[in-house]
Amino acid sequence: MSVGTAEEIKFSDELMAFIEEWKNKPGNLIMILHRVQGEFGYIPRAAAMKVSEMIGIPLAKIYGVITFYHFFKTKKPGKYIIQVCLGTACYLRGGQDIMNELETILGTSVGHVTDDGLFSIEAVRCIGCCGLAPVMMIGNEVFGKLTPEKVPEIIADFRNRA
């Protein structure tokens, strides 16, 4: 998938069909943005511009929506998205220590991507397995009962997969 200008960026046939189907229906914007993020992992500026052109909603309004909801990302996330739980249970069991360790060994901070594009760190509130606190997710894999000492090994494992 190329990411250039609004003229250059390519949407998949499924996405194009989805937008065509919904372009004139009220309340379509957020649904379409979900699909765009599903396809690119984030909402590239060129994609937002293409959506604006296709459904006739001003780009300023689209950015008002994208920046309002935390779910939508305007920057390309890492290949592996690390979600560290800072919900009540995890926080009490040392979630912040896990976060600190990650930030140290990856050399980046929450909300950002490593220079090599491999990892991005996000803070989340509860992923539904408080019994395993503190937990984090990388992609779809859950890591529970963490200690800061276990973190480097997990990261090394993902580095080897890349």
């Binding site: 500026r45 511009m49 780009l59 300023a60 950015y63 920046t67």
Partner: protein, 587 residues
């Protein structure tokens, strides 16, 4: 009309159903303080300063409501002022002030700021909460306006004007909660956004968060330079608004005083953009007659308004063939100042510093649009100052403006007719064009030059002008959101291969026309628009000559220099070209 009977602080009033408490209070002679509300805009209850109380009545328990967004209910009494309300409002003002830099002394809105006025009205001597100012870098990316979001009070007026009145969508809030801030589209710069530089955001901002790019220092440097011959022109709308800055009434015609003040400020030659408004009519009117009689592209669209030109190039580039090639009066005046005038007076055009006093911020951008703005071989206009900037220069120079004796403009490009002066108001360009088009088509003079159908504040006006059997269908639109509707219709008819409804369309970007431009004195609303408009029509009536083709200096410039309208020389100096511009630049 259905009405409801209510009471404001016990004062009985009868108002139309659906009236807001705020407007009902005005009718009862009660002033409720506001910050985000503006009569041009839909209320949206952002600031909370207009909060009022309802009593325990008609089965509804007492409550606090925002007067701007709440409609009156039959039989209700609304309490607008008591110690509790004053305390609540004072808290709101304090909260806003805690997020606002206390830099009033160096702010462009010092003494003209709506927040400052509230702080004064509520006797705030010390801000009740610790300062929590979020610093955002200033956006200086355009030559027209500066966005200083650090001073923003998040009233939302600028975004509403930009989106609803102008349909431009350059500005919108981004992020949420305490991180909410105003920003050009997608957090870019104004220059990269679709901003058309009209400055209506600056005219509506209650504080100093968006303002004209102040260039008064450039004027001061030019008049100080003995090498330079400073030639100044002034737009029609300036003469009925500048007086407001000196305690005079809106609409008071101060043309002669402005000429005098400009001479005292050190200008060497005083001209009037009205001269070139007459010249515009000769060129644009002739262009229209040519299109009409030779099957050219119609409807012709007027091209005097630079914000409108920017809008067209971004949003309706398919209308370029319809666009008059005539430059704006300001650019025509600049071009002939450095050619015709320079030749007549034997002045080296390289030594002429050409200044334009304009009601408009887009004019600051227009002078560097493209190479056509250097038709004389030099920048045809070197500097544009808004009405507000001229007021500052006059105050700085200690000139007692209100008591100045009237003076006259200089020849040979300073005289004007009534047709030119109404260029500053919606419908005025069309009225002026019709007065001369009648002559250009028939060779006869129009008996009654007052074309009333072109006047008034309706967003879109239309009519048919009978030029001895030739029916010319005209339309006038102002406020770009209104213009959009007209253009969409033109586009739809063209794409369907159907005949057009209009032959000639006048467009002005700002509601009411230039008299309510983005560079005019603050406080513009429909009441002020009506007064300034009345001033220009009065100026028209005062003129002995009321048709552009009667202006003796216009006849002279064609005889001595240009030859005829649409001549080769005219085309070189007075006409221009347009091109498609990306709505979202460099994004």
């Amino acid at each position: 009309m259905e009405t409801v009977k209510i009471k404001i602080d016990g004062i009985p009033v009868e108002v139309a159903a659906g009236t807001t408490i705020l407007n009902a209070a005005k009718l009862a002679g009660v002033k409720i303080p506001t910050l985000c509300a503006h009569p041009d805009l839909e209320p949206w209850g952002a600031c909370g300063i207009c909060v009022v109380k309802t009593e325990n009545q008609m089965g509804v328990s007492p409550r606090l409501v925002r007067a701007c967004t709440t409609k009156v209910i039959e039989g209700f009494n609304y309490i607008t002022h008591d110690p509790e309300l004053q305390s609540i409002r004072k808290t709101v003002v304090n909260l806003i002030l805690s997020n606002h830099p206390q830099e009033c002394l160096t702010c462009g809105r010092n003494q003209q700021c709506e927040l400052q006025r509230l702080a004064e009205e509520f006797c705030i001597r010390e801000v009740a909460f610790p300062s929590n100012v979020r610093r955002v870098p200033k956006d200086n990316s355009t030559p027209s306006i500066v966005l200083d979001a650090t001073k923003c009070v998040q009233c939302g007026r600028c975004a509403q004007v930009c989106q609803q009145l102008q349909g431009v969508w350059a500005l919108e809030f981004i992020h949420r909660g305490e991180n909410t801030r105003i920003a050009p589209v997608a957090d870019s710069t104004l220059n990269e956004s679709p901003c058309i530089k009209c400055g209506q955001c600056a005219a509506h901002c209650p504080v100093g968060a968006i303002y004209e790019n102040d260039e008064t220092d450039k004027f001061l440097a030019a008049v100080k330079d003995p090498e330079l011959h400073v030639a100044v022109q002034m737009a029609p709308a300036v003469r009925v608004a500048l007086g407001e800055a000196f305690g005079m009434l809106p609409g008071e015609i101060v043309t002669g005083k402005i000429y005098a003040a400009l001479r005292r400020l050190g200008a060497d030659a005083i001209f009037d953009t009205n001269f070139s408004a007459d010249l515009t009519i000769m060129e644009e009117g002739s262009e229209f007659v040519k299109r009409l009689t030779t099957g050219g592209v119609l409807p012709q669209l007027t091209s005097c308004c630079p914000a409108w030109t920017n809008y067209m190039e971004e949003y309706y580039p398919d209308m370029i063939p319809n666009f008059s090639t005539a430059k704006s009066p300001m650019m025509m005046q600049g071009a002939i100042t450095k050619t015709y005038y320079a030749e007549q007076k034997g002045i080296d055009p390289a030594k002429i510093f050409s200044v334009a006093i304009m009601p408009c911020t887009a004019k600051k951008h227009e002078i560097e649009r493209d190479d056509n703005m250097h038709a004389s071989g030099y920048p045809d206009v070197d500097l544009v100052l808004t009405t507000r900037e001229l007021a500052r220069l006059i105050k700085m120079a200690g000139i007692d403006f209100a008591n100045l004796a009237d003076e006259k403009a200089d020849s040979p490009i300073g005289a004007y007719t009534g047709a030119a002066t109404i260029f500053g108001v919606t419908g005025g360009v069309m009225e002026a064009a019709v007065r001369s088009a009648y002559f250009l088509v028939t060779g006869e003079e129009l008996k009654d030059v007052n074309i009333v159908a072109t006047r008034g504040m309706d967003g879109v006006k239309s009519g048919v002008v009978d030029i001895k059997g030739t029916k010319v269908r005209v339309a006038i639109a102002h406020g770009l959101a209104n213009v959009k509707a007209v253009l969409d219709e033109v586009r739809a008819l063209r794409e369907a291969g159907q005949p057009q409804k209009y032959d000639f369309i006048e467009v002005m970007a700002c509601r009411g026309g230039c008299i309510a431009g983005g560079g005019q004195p603050y406080g513009t609303d429909d009441d002020l628009r009506a007064k300034r408009t009345a001033g220009l029509y009065k100026d028209d009536e005062k003129c002995t000559l009321r048709c552009s083709h009667h202006n003796p200096e216009i006849k002279e410039i064609y005889e001595k220099y240009l030859g005829a309208p649409l001549s080769e020389k005219s085309h070189h100096l007075l006409h221009t070209t347009y091109e498609k511009v990306k709505t979202y630049k460099a994004l």
